[in-house]
């Protein structure tokens, strides 16, 4: 392509300078806020604390402006911005121009700092008249984190680097990332990582100020829940992207970068449960401050793994400049929080002890140990290449079977505890109550096992059978909780049953939202167990007109079509799917070839040698998916491409376009056999359906209640508790 160069445009270059200036101003605000917060905390002078808070607001304002400036540059195709030239192009669709910002390291850092500044402003606004001892220190921690990330952008990875003169066209966004899931996945994951810094900062503030009751937990509870939710959404979008876009058919591969996001999610899950024990019973204080410190350290470690390239991963994010500073930050956070916890052990003493094993707190403790154990296993496996290099001098790595061996049994136990936790009361559950609560879930478990053994080959997949049985236990236990909530209120107030249920659930959204999350997770785990144990997976090589049998399906390769567009050449196969002679569906898996900018590929070759992506042909149903991917064998085109590279190099682009159309037509007239991967994946869709249900539950639980309503609810709960004669209010 002939490269024309835009005239020197001083106005546009100044925009990049404005961006850098915004970052510098934001850094000053952040540094000031950190200093003012420390001084305010030290002297107890509230004016300094308020001033620090306002500096955080200013930092948020400046970073917001910087983000808007960069996004406008992406939309306007302003290639004076090096970031725009490297990650976008005039032909990139507008939606992907907007999301291209975080496809770069620099843009990701900006996103990170921006989300941090917004979340910090939010939490500091909410707490502006509360927790006077903790807030100044929390402000300082948040501002220090902000300074770190803004500093990285100023000194290590500049999002506002400029190109002068600007190139006429940009590189464009990597085709693999042109997928709606991938557009939203990074900000979700980052928001999850970033939001964990809020409970972490308040925890550190509480440790420094030695105010170690549950107040820091109550204040940041919703932030923790939202962080957990975002991290979960990020994980699920990533897995869905892998399933639909990578032409592989899997959704999880125990890759280091995947593990890096899963570990803080697991520890965060443990944290969300154990803080309830501290709130209700005043126990597990050391455990809670340790868990939140570990969660946040793992978030930073995840970012480090993504950035530094120390581990072999399919997400090879190139060697980067920010690995060193990040490692220092991880060290400071890990050592600093450990020192603080050890020096405050006296204030972290539990207010009481666990009375009985048949209590919610001991169930939560076991669930915590399982989650932490799971994270430890994943941590060990992820870092094993470094561990083995340290001890043996050679890098050894562990593959999926090793992970599955440990994760499966722990995961199966966790399904059971997902159902047990909600059933048990705080303090102690009497034998009679336990029998009453466990009878229906127990029957459901037994029936599930009996039915599955009778009608399926689940007997040969014992772990999956356990998951189904325990998931049935959990779902029935949760249904029972909702039923009891409705009928208790119905009996007390005489309201109609549905209304009674809605009111009872609405009055304690945190509890019932949590139960909805549990139900969603149980469904997700059913999907994982079924699709990983009962999958049929075939690689086929078919000529047009041939048919193959996969599972119960007959797959007929009817024809191949091509769709040469401006941006890419797309080849698609038409597959007719029948079962027992009856037509089921027609699938059109496709493969898209994006042109490369690499001059060595040749004038014609560059249209075929660039990145290619899969569009899978997918038939989704409640019972399972039929998944197909297609890879045409274009090697018969090679002689013609080589000739074309020689003879057509000097032709104008339009004429080259005609040559490419002719080549594509030539291929369609006489296609070679194509490779297909066909997967019959039972119940796999429930992974994401369950996730959506869990998301709804999390929103329900985190939705802020008005202060006045909250007081009313507390009074109502106390009365209800008295009337029912139970010990203490329900969670």
């Amino acid at each position: 392509m002939p490269v024309e160069v835009h005239d020197h445009d001083p106005g546009a270059v100044e925009l990049t300078i404005l961006g850098s200036a915004l970052l510098a101003a934001a850094l000053l605000c952040a540094l000031y806020a950190a200093g003012a917060g420390v001084y305010g905390g030290h002297t107890g002078d509230r004016r300094w604390t308020a001033s620090a808070r306002r500096a955080v607001y200013a930092m948020a304002g400046l970073l917001t402006t910087a983000v808007v400036l960069l996004e406008i540059a992406f939309v306007r195709n302003d290639f004076h911005f090096a970031l725009v030239a490297d990650h976008s192009s005039t032909t990139t669709p507008t939606f992907y121009k907007l999301t291209a910002m975080w496809s770069s390291q620099e843009g990701s850092l900006l996103l990170w700092a921006w989300v941090l500044s917004l979340a910090s402003s939010g939490v500091l606004f909410i707490t502006r008249r509360r927790h006077r001892e903790i807030v100044p220190w929390a402000t300082a921690i948040l501002a220090a984190l902000g300074s770190f990330f803004i500093g990285l952008m100023i000194f290590k990875a500049q999002p506002f680097a400029h190109l002068d003169p600007a190139p006429a066209e940009g590189v464009g966004l990597t085709p693999l990332l042109r997928n709606p899931y991938m557009a939203v996945h990074p900000p979700m994951l980052y928001s999850g990582y970033v939001l964990w810094s809020i409970p972490f900062a308040f925890c550190i503030g509480a440790l420094i100020a030695r105010k170690l009751d549950a107040s820091w937990i109550r204040t940041t509870r919703n932030f923790a829940l939202v962080a957990w939710t975002f991290l979960g959404i990020g994980l699920l979008l990533g897995s869905r992207w892998s399933y639909e876009e990578l032409g592989w058919g899997g959704y999880w591969g125990w890759d280091p970068v995947e593990n890096a996001a899963l570990m803080p999610w697991l520890i965060g899950t443990a944290f969300l449960h154990s803080v309830m024990v501290q709130e209700k019973r005043g126990m597990l204080k050391v455990w809670n401050v340790s868990l939140i410190s570990a969660t946040f350290t793992l978030c930073l470690l995840g970012t480090f793994l993504v950035r530094s390239g120390v581990l072999e991963s399919i997400h090879a994010f190139g060697a980067s400049t920010v690995g060193g500073p990040l490692l220092v930050l991880i060290g400071v956070v890990a050592v600093g929080s450990t020192v603080l916890i050890v020096t405050r052990l006296e204030q972290l003493r539990p207010e009481r002890r666990i009375e009985s094993l048949a209590s919610r707190e001991s169930i939560f403790l076991v669930n915590n140990l399982l989650l932490v154990g799971l994270a430890v296993v994943i941590f060990w496996g992820t870092f094993f290449p470094l561990i083995s290099e340290f001890f043996t001098g050679e890098k050894h790595s562990l593959a999926a079977p090793w992970f599955n061996r440990y994760v499966t049994p722990i995961g199966v136990l966790l399904v059971l505890f997902t159902g047990l936790g909600p059933l048990f009361a705080w303090g102690r559950l009497s034998g009679g109550a336990a029998r009453r609560l466990l009878v229906w879930p127990g029957i459901a478990t037994a029936v599930t096992i009996a039915v599955l053994l009778a009608v399926s080959d689940a007997g040969s997949h014992l772990w999956a059978l356990f998951v189904f049985a325990f998931a049935a236990f959990t779902l029935v236990a949760l249904l029972g909780e909702f039923w009891r909530a409705g009928s208790t209120r119905h009996a007390l107030t005489g309201e109609a049953y549905p209304r009674a249920l809605a009111t009872a659930v609405g009055r304690n959204r945190r509890r019932y939202g949590g139960f909805v999350v549990h139900a969603g997770i149980a469904l997700t785990l059913i999907g994982i167990a079924a699709s990983s144990s009962f999958q049929t997976n075939r690689d086929l090589r078919l000529q047009v007109g041939q048919t193959a049998k996969v599972g119960d399906y007959d797959i007929a390769y009817r024809k191949i079509t091509a769709d040469p567009e401006n941006e890419r050449i797309s080849f698609a196969a038409q597959l007719d799917v029948t079962r027992d002679g009856k037509h089921v569906t027609t699938l059109n898996p496709a493969r898209n070839y994006y042109p490369t900018q690499d001059p060595t590929a040749g004038a014609i070759g560059r249209y075929f040698m660039g990145e290619s992506t899969s569009e899978v042909g997918l038939k989704t149903a409640a019972g399972g998916d039929l998944w197909t991917a297609f890879q045409p064998d274009l090697s018969s085109l090679n002689p013609a491409i080589i000739r074309g590279n020689r003879q057509l190099a000097d032709l104008p682009p339009q004429a080259q376009g005609f040559a490419i159309l002719a080549l594509v037509q030539h291929y369609l007239d006489d296609p070679r056999p194509a490779n297909f991967r066909v997967i019959v994946n039972p119940l796999v869709g429930w992974i994401w359906i369950g996730a959506l249900i869990a998301l709804a539950g999390a929103v329900m639980a985190a939705w802020p209640a008005l202060e006045s309503r909250r007081r009313l609810e507390a009074a109502y709960r106390a009365r209800l508790g008295k009337e029912l004669g139970t010990a203490g209010p329900p969670a």
Binding site: V3, A85, D86, H87, S103, S104, S108, P167, E169, V171, T174, L176, L177, L246, G247, W248, G249, V306, R307, E312, S313, I314, H315, A316, F317, G318, S320, R353, G373, V376, W380, G381, F384, P385, S388, E394, K395, H396, S397, L398, A399, P401, W402, R405, Y406, D539, R541, T596, Q597, D598, P599, A601, M609, E611, S612, T613, S614, D633, N675, R677
Partner: protein, 135 residues
């Protein structure tokens, strides 16, 4: 039994369980892992040992024959090319010059990959590219 003694016993049981689990973890990880090697490090390879071969696909070396894919992998500096034969899924980004990881064994000078073990490193969103250069 007095409660503090009971607690102590519980702690000892829990700790021993943790230690046992940790020992299992360490033992299985060393026996189940495969060594990461570049082609030049495979010269004295043990034919019975599984390796994880990493390197770049030698440009022009990719040939399909039926289900089998043959290509060569070299060290990242382009030296020591070694023939590889492989069957199974080929990831989307697989092509000339790309950095790949394949797990398998060395047999008579050819590295025979395990089915579906080929991994291509993503042409990542985070690698720096400038216009005119290939990513």
């Amino acid at each position: 039994m007095d409660p503090s003694r009971k607690r102590k016993i519980r702690l000892v049981v829990a700790l021993s369980a943790a230690v046992l689990l940790a020992a299992g973890l360490v033992y299985t990880s060393f026996s189940a892992s495969s060594e990461a090697k570049e082609p030049s490090q495979l010269v004295n390879a043990n034919p019975n040992q599984t390796y994880e071969l990493t390197g770049d696909v030698v440009p022009g070396s990719i040939h399909h024959s039926g289900d089998q894919l043959d290509f060569r992998i070299s060290d990242r500096d382009g030296s020591h090319p070694i023939p590889v034969s492989y069957t199974g899924t080929v990831p989307d980004p697989f092509r000339d010059g790309r950095e790949v990881i394949v797990t398998g064994k060395l047999q008579d000078g050819t590295f025979v990959g395990e089915r579906d073990s080929l991994i291509t490193k993503c042409p990542s969103k985070f690698t720096t590219t400038t216009p005119g250069q290939s990513s």
